[in-house]
């Protein structure tokens, strides 16, 4: 059973519908005890880091997420969920975050005004090393992105996949042990995205 963490993230419905389409049972919860004891977690997210962290703290979910991840359960972060499993975000002058992976979320900065922020649309993801969650997905497949901030992991080894936008290459996939996290939206990335979610549902958390 996959636990989908409910902290009022905008893409909760889309993630649930994608798993339902795949026939994978999903439990939606905001109960910190349920999250702590889960055996597989999807952490969605859309919107702003500060208000997301506020909701997580108010619901006592931060410690539960840390405890579950520390037990080694397969953990998937999506979009804002990926940014806030880092230690901090540059949003709103700096927001302390969950800290499952060392590093920060940073804002895109482009000198060329023609490079639009947010990045919105389909872009290619190149893997730095094979990972079970990407099994059967051709390298450089395009996934759907919508974001103004990008994950900047401190450890190069945590950088699992790269994407180029406006001449700048950022870490579009993070991977550290049982934690994998995508800046893109697999639930809205058509066939390749559904393949990733299928793989995650079967992954034992090792790599």
């Amino acid at each position: 059973m996959i636990t989908l963490v409910d902290y009022k993230a905008g893409n909760l419905t889309s993630v649930r519908l994608a798993f339902e389409h795949l026939g994978v049972p999903v439990r939606i919860t905001d109960d910190p005890a349920v999250v702590r004891d889960s055996d597989r977690i999807v952490f969605p997210g859309v919107g702003a880091a500060a208000s997301a962290m506020e909701t997580l703290r108010a619901g006592s979910l931060v410690e539960s997420l840390r405890a579950a991840a520390a037990r080694g359960v397969p953990f998937l972060g999506i979009c804002l969920g990926t940014q806030i499993i880092l230690e901090s975000s540059e949003e709103d002058g700096g927001v302390p975050c969950v800290g499952l992976i060392r590093g920060s979320a940073r804002r895109f900065q482009f000198d060329d005004p023609r490079i639009k922020v947010p990045q919105m649309g389909w872009n290619a993801v190149s893997l730095r090393r094979p990972h079970p969650v990407f099994e059967g997905i051709p390298d450089a497949s395009e996934f759907y992105f919508v974001h103004s901030y990008y994950p900047d992991p401190a450890e190069p080894g945590d950088r699992l996949g790269d994407t180029e936008y406006g001449g700048f290459t950022f870490a579009s996939v993070l991977g550290r042990g049982n934690v994998v996290a995508t800046q893109f939206h697999p639930e809205k990335s058509g066939r390749v995205g559904l393949q990733l979610l299928t793989n995650f549902a079967r992954w034992d958390g090792s790599c």
Binding site: G10, S14, A18, V46, P118, G121, P138, S141, E142, Y165
Partner: protein, 259 residues
């Protein structure tokens, strides 16, 4: 590299897809959920649904249809028509849509854009605008005036000024639908698209006038649109999304491949 998006537009009336020229003489084209699934299989990158009678009938958007679409397709889609409050927006997003498109009601109440962006993030809020060519360059320095309510009313707003104001208010994307080109299938209004695409810092979607693949090539190459809406040229079955994408790829424009 970020690819250019091809977005089929489905105008919905009584839960059926309809198509008219300049919002008139509408003909029934089919079931929205089935058509959406077909376009996804053919490789479209996103979809947009306009409930074209919701606003005029002063009723909320058809949420049941939004839910059905969300179950059937797993790519982003936007929904517009009759969205006048934060509660309307919330219902559409909770039903599984990515984006909310506001048009006439945003002109009448610009704070709708700001409130939506604050509540759901600016990536959710799409401003749709329907500019028409305007001769009076003093009142309309861009050469285009914004119309509302299905082109029926002029607003006195300059198209570029309104686009910039919407960006400042928090819109995450702008769909520029040319009144003059709409339904003609003679090509996008390139000058208008370029003006807005280069005048704001958020993605701009060109709309109105696509009749053949070369029109889509032109709007990306010459007008620097980030995405293009297609309707009649695919609804008639004359062209496939894959045909349009092949023409774009041949022209060296990056497009998403579909496995």
């Amino acid at each position: 590299m970020l690819t250019k998006r091809i977005i089929p537009c489905l105008d919905i009336k009584n839960r059926r897809v309809t198509k008219g020229v300049k919002f008139q003489n509408n003909v029934d084209l089919g079931d929205p959920v089935a058509m959406a699934a077909g376009y996804c299989a053919d490789g479209c990158d996103e979809l947009v649904f306009y409930d074209i009678t919701a606003s005029a009938e002063r009723r909320p958007i058809d949420i049941g249809m939004v839910s059905e679409v969300a179950k059937a397709i797993h790519i982003p889609f936007a929904v517009g028509g009759g969205i006048s409050t934060i509660q309307d927006m919330s219902r559409v997003l909770l039903a599984g849509a990515e984006k909310i498109s506001v048009n006439s009601l945003a002109v009448l109440k610009p704070s709708l854009i700001a409130e939506g962006a604050r509540a759901f993030g600016r990536q959710c809020i799409v401003l749709g605008m329907d500019p028409v060519r305007a001769e009076d360059r003093v009142r309309f320095p861009s050469g285009y005036e914004v119309t509302i309510r299905g082109f029926r009313e002029r607003t006195g707003l300059d198209a570029l000024a309104w686009a910039r104001q919407a960006e400042d208010l928090g819109a995450g994307e702008i769909v520029v639908n040319s009144v003059d080109a709409d339904g003609t299938r003679q090509g996008f209004e390139l000058a208008l698209t370029k003006l807005i695409a280069e005048g704001v810092h958020i993605p701009v979607v060109a709309s109105g006038g696509a009749g053949r693949p070369s029109h889509v090539v032109d709007v990306f190459r010459e007008a620097h649109a980030d995405a293009a809406i297609v309707a009649g040229m695919i609804h008639t079955g004359e062209y496939k999304i894959q045909t349009i994408k092949a023409a774009l790829a041949d022209a060296g424009i990056p497009v998403r491949r579909v496995w």
